[in-house]
Symmetry: C2
Subunit: 159 residues, 2 copies
């Protein structure tokens, strides 16, 4: 286990976890290289039309999702903490350093830990209140993030 | 001027700025050494009863203010960016890395810049919305932060 296993759960977390048969390094690449991110980060038939990432604390992230009908949804955010091959923390509370977004919704905490020769992958969506957590769950957090995790696993197998 | 002068104003900022006859290094110390922070961070007759600071991105900050009647008000927060002698950014949106606070209220952006042999000191309280900015202004932002700036100047002159 890496040190990232020490993350304390929070009552407003929605959590997805998988034991993935791929090394941490490949999953971290899939999370941080724009060309790779574009291949798995939206649940198909949605697609990703643009990815810009400055992967460091205070660096901006912009991921634009496109619906099957062609409508685009920009997701601006900022990285708060990056530990290579171990941990990525980002939030939509800022659109760049340090420009507040209209509405802080969540902080994502993604960890990659060694476990029985595989990688324990955990993605937490941590909300500022119970209402936002409930909204996210109703929006289809488990289905959406689950499908993306499947796509991530398929991509990692090809790296 | 240092590179921190590039900060773009935001419509939800409340701003205090002073040209202070003290070097940047002394003002930065007054902002980051707990024993010094305790001497100026609350407008007298309020006092500071406790200061704990882990001055690095992701590090926690806890400043407890005490009213003249002895009531204590904890102010937990987290540092987002620290550039020695130049810039300090912190927010109350998290109480530690990365535990959301009940209500993200503001991000503070403090800069120290060389200007005509003195230091341009600027403290920005940046809010997530216009309502919180208005509330902060009515709470006495200008008077409170202004008095604290006077206390900061007096302390820096003794360092």
């Amino acid at each position: 286990m890496t040190k990232t296993s020490a993350i304390t759960p929070h009552e407003n977390d929605l959590v997805l976890t998988r034991l993935i048969d791929a090394p941490r390094e490949k999953l971290f690449r899939a999370w941080t290289e724009p060309k790779l991110v574009a291949q798995w980060f939206a649940p198909k038939p949605w697609t990703i039309s643009r990815v810009e990432m400055d992967v460091r604390p205070g660096g901006s992230s912009l991921i634009v999702m496109r619906s099957p009908e062609g409508e685009e949804f920009p997701n601006p955010g900022i990285f708060l903490e990056v530990v290579k091959n171990e941990k990525i923390v980002f939030t939509d509370a800022y659109t760049s350093a340090w420009v507040p977004s209209p509405k802080p919704f969540m902080t994502a905490i993604v960890t990659f830990e060694d476990e029985v020769g595989k990688t324990r992958y955990t993605a937490r969506a941590r909300h500022w209140n119970a209402e936002d957590k409930a909204t996210h769950e109703k929006m289809g957090f488990h289905e959406g993030w689950g499908q993306c995790a499947d796509q991530l696993v398929a991509l990692a197998a090809k790296l």
